[in-house]
């Protein structure tokens, strides 16, 4: 395991939707190590515990890391007040990311709400061979759709209320895609209920599947054991830790 910790300058800050922010930090030594699906652990002034946020994009050439987060509480609110040019104390890259198959494989990435950001870096790898199925509550919450389009991915955009893209859940779009033809892997991040639905479909169609999980964290590196989640091996239940063994797990290994 290899990660670094340091102060990194925010080189870009955007507001993507109400309460959703897009930061890029100049962090060459993190970018050198980072893989799709890993996360960074960010110190926020005035708070004891760091906040885990997924890596949305890695730019190895420019040595930058991009992450996108939503204000969910006091820590993320404070983080949203950090400005371009300010420094952020970041540890990373942490955890195990998504498996990246050869780029000619057909991958379906599924993201729900604030689970969409980590899927950008995954989809980038497959270009036109990626199908990106992303779902949001409503049109005003939609983020990152242009990013998937720009990399050539086949985009299936869903909103719960039908105000943008198709009306309905990502699982309905996933079923449609699975009916259309061969899929080599499904990779997903989003709310618990969504992941359950995605895994059920993956099983039904016999497609390998990976999911990214969330748990409250302390150390972020596997030392404090607070972020336990239930996993199975050879039919036996045991505990894994989201920060070190995950956040990405093979669907068949986790108990959702």
């Amino acid at each position: 395991m290899e990660y670094v910790q340091g102060e990194y300058r925010v080189v870009s800050k955007k507001n993507l939707a109400k309460n959703v922010f897009d930061f890029t930090i100049d962090a060459k030594n993190i970018a050198d190590l980072a893989l799709a699906g890993q996360f960074v652990h960010i110190k926020v002034d005035g708070f004891m515990l760091r906040r885990p946020i997924s890596i949305c994009e890695v730019d190895k050439e420019n040595g930058t890391i991009r992450f996108v987060f939503e204000i969910r509480g006091e820590g993320t609110e404070k983080l949203s007040q950090v400005n371009k040019g300010d420094n952020l104390d970041v540890m990373g890259p942490l955890g195990k990311g998504f498996t990246i198959l050869p780029e000619d494989k057909k991958a379906v990435v599924v993201g729900g709400g604030i689970g969409v950001p980590p899927m950008v870096e995954v989809a980038k790898n497959y270009g036109e061979n990626a199908t990106a199925i992303i779902g949001f509550r409503s049109a005003n919450a939609v983020i990152l759709d242009e990013d998937f389009k720009n990399m050539g991915a086949n985009l299936m955009l869903c909103t719960d209320d039908g105000t943008m893209g198709r009306k309905g859940f990502v699982t309905e779009a996933l079923k449609e895609r699975l009916e259309q033809g061969k899929v080599d892997i499904i990779q997903a991040c989003g709310p618990h209920m969504m992941l359950k639905g995605v895994v059920a479909l993956a099983n039904e169609y016999g497609v390998p599947c990976e999911v990214s999980l969330e748990e409250r964290m302390g150390c972020g590196v596997g030392a404090c054991l607070v972020c336990a989640c239930k996993t199975v091996k050879d039919g036996k239940e045991y505990l894994s830790h989201v920060c070190k063994d995950g956040p990405v797990f093979k669907a068949e290994d986790v108990i959702l």
């Binding site: 708070f47 004891m48 515990l49 409250r216 030392a223 404090c224 054991l225 972020c227 989640c229």
Partner: protein, 303 residues
Amino acid sequence: MADLRVNIAGVEFKNPIIPASGAYGFGREYECLYPLSKLGGISCKGTTLNGQNGNPAPRVAETPSGMLNSVGLQNAGIDHFIEKELPYLEKQDIVVIANVAGHTVEDCVEIARRLENTSTHMIELNISCPNVKQGGAAFGTSCQAAEEITKAVRKATTKPLMVKLSPNVTSITDIAKAVESAGADAVSLINTLLGMRIDINTRRPILKNNVGGLSGPAVFPVAVRMVWQVANSVNIPVVGMGGVSTYKDAVEMMLAGASAIQIGAAIFADPFTPVKVIDGMNEFLDNNNIEKVTDIIGKVQPW
């Protein structure tokens, strides 16, 4: 460069800074940041006889200047520690403290026996874990139980024995005196203070275990007070912990009477904390023309 060496119950530490049990695993997760040999010692994750899963997640909640945890002593058992973790630690040029917990006196005795012929330098007997239903804190909240378990483990080991005390008691000095009379070579304190947080929207406690142990800067003044009281009532060394996050905190706790310092929660905020505390302490001593760190132990001048 000041002399940072301290001696606890016959074991020499190159400096008085030790990551606290449960906050640092077995050190492997931090080796990519700095060599473990920079630290005085390591207090390993609490180990029970057969291993256990602990409590369901969420097991952590943030609090003002601190955190609650309810891990519940998740560990892989003493044999796993001896076979899988100890060989790695042996190579790190660091004092290895095995943190031992049991559901019964017999469990603790058996663990001490299994550690007897290993390279472990010291045993820290945890009679103060607030997160397990049987045993744990129950041993640490009555003088009689604390004395009994310390006596039994004392008989089972020739290794230096440090007993880790709970702050969740009416009189921590009485417990400290009880374990001293039962043969403890040192005491360490404080373990976490029992606490609780509730989500006002869902009306559910944040921790699945409902309650958990408070640590971090929030507990620091309580810990300093307890270290001071205990150091004044026993004749064995006191290893202090609870909320230490800077070299100033460490110096303060040593002035209160601690012979060495353990650091837990602060490592989550900054994994370099132990190293920064060592460097800062060295500079403080140099700037004040104090040759040896041992010269500040217990040197508070109470009114």
